[in-house]
């Protein structure tokens, strides 16, 4: 069974050629095909080996056994010192236990465990969120009476980032949704000959719901993720620990400016959203329904009371608070790795959008029952 890598002459097995990583698979399959078995007690010649690296050494040691490899100097004295040293060093490394028993469970157990883990995770997530909200509110009240410790610069910087810079995208998005709603209304109401009510449809939906909801969802995607990534990167760089070790409160320094910035930005953005939603509606009604802009304004004034505007705007601070708090909390949950930053950023966006819609649904129910 002579092959490129291994040959048997009488009682001696000769290993030959380049035993390197590049040929690892070839040598391994050649060994598997030959009936060579273990060579622990046979005479082995390594003279014909032209190159040897760690991968090749591993194969040789697996073939001849660790003990024989350790005593390589005795039976292969003519092998270069460097390769002897390599064999001995690798043999020592392989002599240590290499494999770790991985805990194995049945599939049903695993499935149950994963369900349980999810439930416990969900539960502790909500508890943490409540606790964090409490902490933030407590700090807020604590600082409310101490204007010297308000971080005005940071707050204004965050207002610029998450409020001002978001104006174009919020305006554009709500404008387009406003146009879509108007189109929908025009199509449906045409059958009743009541296309004039398209104005009411756009006005009601944007003042009560869409203006604030779309702005909140956009900020949940745009700002909650930014908060999580900012704070998460600080966390994994031990900056949060550094703050605490210096006796500074990360809630006061990092969270409150962000929460305050959101509380100020979101109502304004919601207002922008309402206006440009109405503008989108007005554009469609004036272009395709022949309702003039003047008539649009008059109908708006006559049919739509200011209550709807207030109902819509009243939700904005709540959404803002929830988005900011979830974004910051997820940031604090980041641990070490880059992967963790990614996971928590995703989680903060999903959670904040979910909470915004949930709160909106509950609020709609409440306002309806109240008759507002």
């Amino acid at each position: 069974m002579p092959s490129e890598w291994i040959a048997r002459h009488d009682q001696t097995v000769a290993l030959q050629g380049e035993w390197t990583l590049a040929h690892y698979r070839d040598i391994k399959s050649a060994l598997a095909q030959s009936d060579i078995g273990q060579l622990t007690h046979e005479t082995v010649s390594l003279d014909a080996i032209t190159r040897l690296d760690t991968a090749g050494a591993v194969l040789i040691i697996e073939l001849i056994g660790v003990e024989k490899a350790t005593s390589v100097a005795e039976w292969a004295a003519e092998l270069p010192k460097e390769q002897q040293a390599l064999l001995i060093r690798i043999a020592e490394a392989m002599n240590a236990p290499l494999d770790v028993a991985q805990p194995s469970h049945s599939r049903i157990n695993q499935a149950l465990a994963s369900v349980g883990l999810q439930m416990v995770g969900l539960w502790s997530q909500q508890r943490q969120l409540l606790a964090f909200i409490g902490l933030v509110i407590a700090t807020l009240f604590h600082l409310a009476l101490r204007p010297r410790r308000w971080r005005l610069t940071a707050t204004v910087a965050h207002i610029q980032q998450s409020g001002l810079n978001a104006v174009p995208i919020v305006a554009l998005l709500t404008f387009m949704v406003g146009a879509v709603v108007a189109f929908l209304g025009a199509t449906v109401l045409q059958d009743f000959g009541a296309t004039i009510y398209t104005i009411d449809l756009v006005a009601f939906s944007f003042l009560r719901e869409f203006g604030v909801l779309l702005a909140a969802i956009l900020l949940a995607g745009r700002t909650a993720s930014a908060f999580t990534a900012q704070i998460g990167a600080m966390k994994s760089n031990e900056e949060i620990d550094a703050l605490q070790a210096q006796g500074l409160d990360p809630i006061e320094l990092l969270v409150l400016p962000r929460v305050m910035a959101m509380l100020i930005s979101l109502p304004m953005l919601a207002f922008v959203g309402m206006l440009s939603g109405l503008a989108g509606g007005a554009m469609v009604t004036s272009l395709s329904l022949d309702i003039s802009l003047t008539q649009f304004m008059i109908t708006l004034q006559k049919d739509v009371s200011v209550t709807h505007f207030l109902v819509g705007l009243s939700k904005a601070p709540v959404f803002a608070f929830v988005i900011a708090v979830i974004g910051c909390l997820e940031g604090f949950k980041v641990s070490g790795s880059a992967q963790s930053v990614g996971e928590h950023t995703t989680s903060s966006v999903v959670q904040s959008i979910f909470m915004v819609i949930l709160i909106d649904a509950v609020a709609a129910l409440f306002f309806m029952e109240m008759g507002w």
Binding site: T20, L21, A22, Y24, R25, K28, I49, T50, R51, L52, D53, T54, A55, V58, P80, K81, E82, Q83, A85, L86, I88, R89, I90, A93, M94, A96, P97, L98, D99, V100, Q102, S335, G336, S337, A338, Q339, S340
Partner: protein, 275 residues
């Protein structure tokens, strides 16, 4: 791996030749006409004050930064003249240990090391992970570490694991960027020892950027001092320490330098006594 017929040390065949290297960041000149040679099988320590461009030099040789001028010749090839494929071939023969380990945080240790074995050497996952575990054991990590993720490791373990990853493809040249920074003295000494042992067994050349005087005395064959945008002196450590330069004198003959020097002489006298 070097060829088998080469003796372990005392060869002066160059593996890296840096000639006339120029590096600038805007108007800041980091390197100006810098020459440096790394010989086969040697451990070359590169020292210099903060901001003298030790890491930049390493990054220019490895190919992470394109130099503004000059040539870097690695294993007989000039890096700038190669196309991407040839370059990648050369870069496979490098092993780099970054300052903070730079282990992939989403992979466990054995996957960290197996990655290049799977991607470059095209090994099946099972074989690659087997070799990876041997590499981990080679750098002195316990078997349980193979399944751990980088974030749960101590600084010393990260350095060892990063060394194992740098060794994954049996590189010809190993680049180490401050490998003992942040290690306790015992861990750092063990790392120096490990480096020398592995160099003797595997025969690679080492480009070692460091601040650690003990490492210079314990592990390096030659030391290069970077200063004033070029290599001030490169020689054995005893001769470098004699150089008439203010920074070199402060560095080697300051309180820490003297301590490292005397520790080294003490340990070598002990070794003689034992013999």
């Amino acid at each position: 791996m070097s060829d088998s017929d080469k003796p372990i040390k005392q060869t002066t065949q160059p593996v890296i030749k840096v000639r006339g290297l120029i590096n600038r960041f805007g108007s800041v000149v980091v390197h100006d006409n810098l020459d440096l040679t790394l010989n086969r099988g040697e451990i070359l320590g590169v020292v210099g004050g903060s901001g003298t461009g030790k890491s930049v030099l390493l990054r220019s040789i490895v190919g992470l930064k394109r130099p503004n001028g000059g040539t870097v010749e690695v294993l007989g090839h000039t890096l700038n003249e190669l196309n991407d494929k040839q370059r990648s071939q050369i870069e496979r023969r490098f092993g780099v240990l970054f300052q903070r380990g730079a282990l992939f945080s989403s992979l466990n240790l054995q996957e960290n090391i197996a990655l290049t074995l799977i991607e470059h050497a095209k090994l099946p996952r099972e074989d690659a992970e087997h070799l990876a575990r041997i590499k981990l054991s080679l750098v002195g990590l316990p078997p349980q570490a193979a399944l751990q993720f980088p974030e749960s490791l101590s600084g010393g373990m990260v350095k060892r694991a990063a060394l194992a990853r740098a060794l994954a493809l049996d590189p010809d040249i190993l680049f180490l960027d401050e490998p003992t920074a942040g290690l306790d003295p015992i861990g750092a000494a063990a790392f120096d020892q490990l480096l020398v042992t592995l160099r003797d067994a595997l025969g690679f050349s080492v480009f070692l950027v460091t601040h650690d005087l003990d490492t210079l005395y314990a592990a390096c064959d030659r030391v290069a001092v970077l200063s004033q945008q070029h290599v001030l002196v490169v020689d054995t450590i005893d001769k470098v320490a004699e150089t008439n330069d203010e920074w070199v004198q402060d560095y080697f003959h300051g309180p820490r330098g003297r301590a490292a020097q005397s520790a080294n002489t003490a340990s070598s006298t002990n070794a003689y006594r034992q013999e």
